[in-house]
Amino acid sequence: MSDSDSDAASSIGDIIEEASEPDTTSFECLFCEQQWSRVPDMLTHCRSEHSFDLESAIKSLGPDTDELDIIKLINYLRAESQKGVDAKNIKADSETIADDRYLQPTVPDDALLFELGDLMPDSESKAVDFDEYETALHQRVGQDVEKMSLENDRDTSYFDSYKGSGIHREMIEDSVRTQGYRDFIEKNAGLFAGKVVLDVGCGTGILSLFCARAGAKKVFAVDNSDIALRAKEIVAKNGYQDTIEVIQGRVEDFHTQRLIGKDKVDIIISEWMGYGLLFEGMFDSVIRARDLCLKEDGLMVPSHCTLRLAPISNKDWIAESKGEAFWNNVYGFDFSPMVPGGALTDREIGVFDVPQKSLGGEACTFYQLDLKHIQLQELDFSAPFSTKLHTDMSSIDAFAIWFDTFFLPPGQPQDATAIDVASWGMNGLPGLGFSTGPYSAPTHWHQAVLLLDEDDRRKEISGGSVLRGTVTYKKTRRDVRGVDVTVGWEVDGEKGPVSGSVMRTMS
């Protein structure tokens, strides 16, 4: 599915590809096969390529237009287009869309039907709530309402994996993480008092509960997984049901938007970070939530993340992590094709708690994400780095990548890269942030490790010299939640400069 999406996008140029690839959902143009992830982009395209102005068409339906009318309009337009009617010649008015059969999606799993928030005329009076919409659908189309539930397989599996109690326990018990958020909220309760907060990917609702306890006026806790049902019960158990509204769905879904309402939120809080920071692509949803819901002077919590890297040089640790000793003789057979095996392979990024003594150089920051301003396309990036190697190093085996998380409220200097994380100690600095690096207490994120190819591991380098390079993050084409990470590097060797490159996938 992701293949066909991106192929369609790439055929019309790089800019579109950048814009549409990062998204977790995409929908087809009303009239051609072009895939889009943002409604405004598709509207522009329809106007210029198909001479069709959807916004005008919606206006022409009259002042009483509601979501149901727009759903019918979209399904009608798609049906007409499928019949081969040219966009310019489609007659769309309240009579042509009157038939209730247009409540059923023309295109199965049509993601556009869940982006209606972008299409609604600005009139407040017409807002129906989701329950009303559902009831209406049930009454009119009966069992077919199930077709409206938008679930594609890859998303389902991702959200399914969050259903059990085990993973939530792992995350809640990760005290560096949970305490990092709690400390910031409690030390800055004044920022939360009386404010409206949106918790993106709320899980069991722990961050929402912290916010409510700190005095937030209203918290919208959104999660697409079934865990939202449990979160709702937990919120009620703790007496916060009037403050915290748990919504099962994606932030960008129109029923979520409808519940949050037209008034924007003061604060977006989210624990979205994945392995290597960007694996699982949940940050995409946070950016979309920010663009849709956050007030101009609103606060992102956390506010910044930095990506950091350090070289690893420790043959013993590598050999053990690759499982060499095991594969060379398995019940009398030669299994050496399985090396590198174990958790460290020549294709994929492994996650480890890297022992400090295995590091072969200083840690350096190579990228900063300012959550308030970063754009989706900036999540695919190339960034330079340089690190001073320890004097006793003669080769490098791998690179460790991790991230640090910062809570910088307004009034604090907003350059996270200037903060000396190394001085924070094991559990971060209460209220300011936490690190997931090898110098800090282990977290469930561990560190992402990229094992170099064997040839590169053999290259002799000069200890004490400066290693320079570039880190590239790029979303995996096949898998929207995966990331390809490439590290190109160069350093002085005994016989002149030595260089190499390693590409590994997190999937």
Partner: protein
């Protein structure tokens, strides 16, 4: 997951959950864990090596061959030819391994579903397979083995292994249950008890100390691989557990034994709490009630298992229990509903 650019990815046409299942087997770690499980691997090795007379000049099918270890055992035991079939891309590694060990002309490796691959032989003499999952049936490949049996196995052909038995027993597990389930009572100062219910529905795969076992084991089900059908993998069967001592019972555990009865000297291994560790460990089902039992009393009930309708690799399990006691204050009964996913 790296793919050869020219080859068609057989996973691409699959539902994601299914592809995910096969993909998770691509990671080397899981193969290492399985191969390092000596009880498992050595039982297969011995069953094959000690029965060269059965394997000599025979055509063998290895269902879900993984890294091909069983296929290579069969070649060493004298098989004429072995066909290994696996969905996972691990089969690319298996090809390299087979080549390294000079068996490329003896072993044909096919990537694909058993239902879809074309075997180089119409019939096979022996089927070997390591198909067992946690609780025997979770993510098991038994249905694939049965399909292969019906389609490819010659009359009077052999299956290694050919018998699997599920057992149950009651255990005292107060401390760990409190740690595992009680955790949700107070989470960072909040009441998280709604997740207790979720945790109770999740069977726990873990090693159980034999000292924790309070009752005699009870046989739930024996599967004879020559005769059983896919329908037999959904069942509701009675059990009866007799207490060996006065104690509390917090959970029912289940495990399985595997037998290669075609062997000259039958080979058998168990994944129970009384014997050596295997990667299958045991499966723990916590009960809502804590049963207070006295020596000689019985717990009777039924264990029901069937593949989940939503994802057929998940298992829906129900366990009913009733403590039979003359002491009316201790009489307890209930039912636990579980899902392995």
């Amino acid at each position: 997951m790296a793919q050869g650019s020219g080859s068609k990815d057989p996973l691409s046409s699959m539902a994601h959950s299914e592809a995910h299942y096969f993909n998770s087997y691509n990671h080397h770690g899981i193969h290492e864990e399985m191969l390092k499980d000596e009880v498992r691997t050595k039982s297969y090795r011995d069953a094959i090596y000690q029965n060269g007379h059965l394997f000599k000049d025979k055509v063998v099918l290895d269902v879900g061959c993984g890294t091909s270890i069983l296929s290579m055992f069969a070649v060493r035991a004298g098989a004429k030819h072995v066909i290994g079939v696996d969905m996972s891309t691990i089969i690319e590694k298996a090809r390299e391994i087979v080549k390294k060990n000079g068996m490329s002309d003896k072993i044909t490796l096919l990537q694909g579903k058993m239902e879809e691959v074309k075997l180089p032989f119409d019939k096979v003499d022996i089927i070997i397979s390591e198909w067992m999952g946690y609780f025997l049936l979770y993510e098991s490949m038994l249905d694939t083995v049965l399909y292969a049996r019906d389609k490819y196995l010659v009359k009077d052909g052999l299956i290694f292994p050919d018998k699997a038995t599920i057992y149950a027993a009651g255990i005292e597990d107060g401390e760990y249950k409190e740690e595992k389930i009680g955790f949700w009572d107070n989470v960072w100062g909040f009441d998280y008890t709604p997740l207790k219910a979720t945790a109770m529905t999740e069977p726990l795969v873990d090693t159980v100390d034999i000292k924790a076992v309070v009752t005699d084991p009870s046989t739930i089900l024996t599967l004879d691989l020559y005769t059983c059908t896919v329908a037999d993998l959904s069942f509701r069967l009675p059990y009866s557990l007799k207490a060996r001592r006065n104690d509390f019972i917090h959970a029912i555990i289940a495990w399985f034994d595997i037998e290669f009865s075609a062997c000259h000297k039958p080979i058998r291994f168990s994944t129970g709490p009384h014997t050596k560790y295997t990667h299958w460990k045991q499966t723990v089902f916590y009960l809502q009630d804590v049963l207070t039992v006295e020596e000689g009393e019985q717990i009777k009930g039924e264990l029901e298992t069937r593949p989940s309708e939503k994802n057929h690799r998940d298992l829906d399990i129900k366990i009913s229990y009733k403590l039979i006691s003359d002491d009316m204050h201790r009489q307890t009964s209930g039912e636990g509903v579980y899902k392995m996913c």
